[in-house]
């Protein structure tokens, strides 16, 4: 129901857009200066709250300064020794070795001071973020009202791209490393809140009851029963917070003045010194992996506070840390190279690396170009500006005639009819509308048509509530004048996410079938997820140069992982009894996969799609650094031009797209789940 109207509206809009301007473009008279409004509010905030934020800056700059001072004063040998010991405790000899070699690499490539600056930020921001997150999590667990206030805040703060709130922080706190610190705290506390709440809620009722029956007071129940039982989940929160903090510290270096490792990557990349950029990027990747494995290892380890333990045994670990560090500080005078890495030991990797890269780029150029053009002409451009403008002798090798158009229309019509006759009305309509979009191009579609299509889908999936939410979100995009940019983002994101999903889901399916492949992919996926997204850009830009195609690859590289993981997990965890029952009925391997496991794993696979969309949108802003147009670029331009309103409106726009996509997925999932349980 309603679908003939939608098709009618879309088709007539397309026909009318050549004649009526307001059909093709949202009339600018109706647009509101929302960006300007934000700017005014911000200005008011800055002038009226200056003393407060100055004070915060002042207070925060002290621990910052101390931590920096400490890390720079500490001999490298002491720093490495302490971290290696901690790594040994968290993950055994393997992790200790990895940590030691990684840090020696940092020394070898002469990026020690930059790395220390980044570490200083992380070491200050993580405890603060953990504290804030923990307190909010406890509050949210204790009171339902607080929880209702906290949850939407978390959603928003995790979907608005990090860049978008760099600028307000910059305006409020002034230049300097404190901006990075504040941004990193704001960005990294949400996972801590979520995990704290999750952990506390997950404590089995019987454990709480047994605590009560043991005669625990309220305080004892909290600190000795609930917190220890939830500790593992809480520590996973610490792990996620640490990773988020590091990635924001790197992103925040875009505002400069921090002389940290993120700045090193960015500035060298801007100068097209890919070798140098690569070397610094590897430092970030190593830092991320070390922090991830150490915090994760500590979370995995069940801490035992054995009753039978002497004082020496209990404090052996911290004491040993202090003693080793102390000894190395003292030895610093006697053995100078333990304090300062001699210049002669620095390796010049950048030069040879640059040569290798150059060679590689030259050799691979024909292949790379071929892939790039094919993707551009046959996938990206048709979706962006439509087949009607893409197909030409230069691109497809022939000029489109009326016959070609008729053939295309017939093809779409047949597909739609086929779906219709099998009873899939939704699919039939989707095929028709999809055909239309591909012919006209997403960015050339009249806004009314897109609006009506989206609202219709929203209504079909999630009823009136979702339809109204979608309409309001789209209205914001129209009224704020971000519609065109939003469509550009939507186009890139849709293609990137579709490809990520197809790639992730197929690889995940393979991994679910073959253990060997699963083992092979696991470290690769882990690395892709722990890498700050920045670093991913370096090799891609090196080979594919700046442009939309490079951005596409960067998004795919980041967003395929969730699709992979959820698909593999879903397929591997299909109920044993169903699998046994199916094989007893004589299913072949392929039938088992496609007829039994796939349908049952579908909710999980869709969750993967949902996550892929979120990752894709998050990566969009980062990808804007390598030359995409759209909302990501707006955010970035707003940041560099100091135009808070512009950046923030674009940020909200991206959040709207992300949240709408998320709700669409959830609604679909809800319908499907319902369907499965009914059977």
């Amino acid at each position: 129901m309603g679908w003939p109207a939608v098709i009618l509206v879309s088709a007539s809009c397309v026909l009318a857009m050549g004649h009526l301007d307001w059909v093709a473009e949202f009339p600018s008279a109706l647009q509101l200066p929302i960006g300007g409004l934000f700017n005014a509010i911000m200005k008011w905030m800055v002038t009226n709250t200056e003393p407060f934020f100055k004070a915060v800056t002042f207070v925060l700059s002290y621990p910052m300064g101390w931590m920096r001072g400490l890390l720079h004063w500490l001999p490298w040998s002491a720093f490495i020794a302490v971290l290696v010991i901690i790594a040994y405790r968290a993950g055994g000899a393997w992790l200790a070795g990895f940590t030691g070699i990684s840090l020696l690499y940092v020394l070898g490539v002469d990026l020690w001071d930059e790395a220390m600056n980044s570490f200083a930020l992380v070491f200050i921001s993580v405890p603060l973020a953990v504290l804030i997150g923990f307190l909010l999590g406890v509050l949210g667990d204790a009171s339902d009202r607080a929880k209702r206030a906290i949850m939407p805040l978390l959603d928003i703060s995790q979907t608005i791209p990090a860049f978008a709130y760099l600028l307000p922080i910059l305006l409020l706190f002034g230049f300097g490393p404190v901006v990075g610190l504040v941004a990193s705290i704001l960005f990294s506390f949400p996972p801590m809140v979520r995990n704290t709440m999750l952990g506390l809620r997950g404590v089995p009722l019987e454990i709480v009851e047994s605590g009560l029956m043991s005669g625990a007071t309220n305080a004892q129940l909290f600190w000795r029963v609930r917190i220890p039982s939830a500790l593992k989940q809480i520590l996973i929160g610490v792990n996620q917070t640490t990773m988020a903090s590091l990635s924001m510290v790197i992103i925040a270096s875009i505002i400069g003045g921090t002389a940290d490792i993120g700045w090193e990557v960015l500035s060298t990349m801007r100068k097209a010194q890919f070798g140098e950029s690569m070397i610094a990027g590897i430092v970030i990747a190593l830092m991320a992996m070390i922090l991830d494995r150490i915090t994760f290892g500590l979370a995995e380890k069940q801490g035992s506070t054995m009753v039978k333990k002497s004082l020496v045994q209990r404090y052996f670990f911290p004491m040993s840390l202090l003693m080793v560090a102390g000894a190395l500080v003292v030895m610093d005078d006697a053995v100078p190279f333990l304090g300062h890495w001699p210049d002669a030991w620095h390796l010049d990797l950048a030069g040879p690396l640059n040569q290798v890269i150059e060679r590689f780029v030259i050799v691979s150029k024909p292949t790379v170009e071929a892939i790039k053009t094919a993707c551009l002409f046959f996938v990206m451009l048709p979706f962006k500006i439509g087949l009607d403008k893409t197909v030409s002798p230069y691109t497809w090798g022939f000029a489109p005639t009326a016959w070609h158009v008729a053939g295309y229309a017939a093809l779409i019509g047949l597909a739609s009819l086929g779906a219709w006759r099998k009873g899939h009305v939704g699919l039939a309509v989707t095929a028709l509308l999809g055909g239309l979009v591909f012919y006209i191009g997403l960015t050339d579609m009249p806004w009314i048509a897109i609006l009506s299509i989206l609202i219709w889908f929203a209504y079909r999936l999630g009823g009136r509530k979702l339809a109204i939410g979608t309409a309001l979100g789209m209205l914001f995009l129209l009224v704020s004048g971000s519609w065109d940019k939003a469509m550009l983002s939507l186009y890139l994101c849709t293609i990137a996410v579709s490809l990520s999903f197809v790639m992730g889901a197929s690889l995940g399916t393979l991994a679910a079938q073959y253990d060997g492949f699963s083992h092979f992919m696991r470290p690769i996926n882990d690395t892709m997820q722990t890498l700050p997204p920045f670093v991913l850009l370096i090799p891609i830009v090196m080979i594919f140069k700046i442009g939309e195609f490079a951005a596409l690859l960067a998004i795919i590289g980041y967003a395929y992982v969730p699709a992979f993981r959820y698909t593999e997990h879903g397929l591997r965890h299909v109920s044993e009894t169903v699998v046994e029952a199916a094989s007893s009925l004589g299913t072949s391997r392929a039938q088992m996969l496609f007829l039994v496991k796939m349908p049952l794993a579908l909710p999980n696979i869709m969750l993967g799609l949902n996550q892929s969309i979120m990752y894709g949108i998050a990566m969009l802003v980062i990808a804007a650094l390598v030359g995409t147009t759209g909302l990501g670029q707006e955010v970035y331009v707003g940041l560099s031009a100091g135009n808070f309103g512009q950046g923030f409106v674009a940020g909200i726009g991206m959040a709207i797209i992300a949240i709408t996509a998320d709700r669409f997925c959830q609604a679909w999932q809800h319908n499907h789940q319902h369907h499965v349980t009914k059977e």
Partner: protein, 362 residues
Amino acid sequence: MAASVTNTAETQRPVKLSCRNLWKVYGTKPKHYFDAFGYQIDVGALASRMRAEDHIPAAIDVTFDVHEGEIFVIMGLSGSGKSTVVRCLSRLIDANYGEVLLDGDNLLNKSDKELIDIRRHKMGMVFQNFGLMPHLTVLENVAFPLKLQGLSLRDQRERAQRVITLVDLDGREDAFPTELSGGQQQRVGIARSLAVEPEVWFLDEPFSALDPLIRRQMQDEFLRIQKVLHKSIVFITHDFLEALRIADRMAIMRDGKIVQMGTPEDLILHPADDYVAQFTSEVPRIRVLRAQACVIPATGDTSVMAHVPGSMIVESVLTELAENPSGVVVDDPDGHALGVITPVSLIQTLASVAEARDGGGA
């Protein structure tokens, strides 16, 4: 629901814990049902009214006494309200109406502070899924209630070690709960609940999560411990046979109400209604009936017959009869003869019980 033969030794001992007219109602406004005292006129009508008004009465006017050293079992299927009752007794849930008297003192009026004190010294509880702290070792788990009381480390260790020995877990003190089997984990749960040397001991389906064989072992273990400690016990189970094995007295609950209360024998011989009869019909009579319930008046000379105690299970009486075909004399605890059992009389008694059951069940 009055029990006919309740003159067991337990009922003569003083009452330790008494549950009087206990109600627990879930819903939006449970309190307003208890403003007036009028409900006592008709409990059933009030419960139906609650259900009609979207409230769920989980415990309806529950009344029973637990005597010192007695094992009182509450048996019921899931949803019958048995877990609710035990949680009201320990005040893990607050009842809406009624009294819970521990040594004559109403627990429902206690402040949080007094309650904590009572739990620290007078109550112990064992949970179905053990409720062990995953981050503590066996020894630490058992010592946990003592630690909360602020006992010295030495006292904690000493007392915890004592109960660990009692439940036969010596040598596993430093293991974590995940390293133990289900049966061993529940031994830890039992040891922990006993560490504070409670007077009243609640066990909420303690063996339901265990395999049948282990369950049987644990029941024996439990009876052995009780023989040493003589606690006053409220034991919750959904397993009728388990209830029969361990109960001194038991109550059967259904839909929040106690439908029958008495000794296991009472229930078997005189099921109050079809619901109780459904449970009892599956039970082999000779394993439950005691000699004293099967006696006939002595006819003729009994001086040469062997004597058996009245509390002997009929199954064992069979062995005695095999050796004394002419019959045995059944004595009460004081040595007075209650009557005799002969092979023929026993067969007749069992047959009449079976007949009554089949007639009642049809």
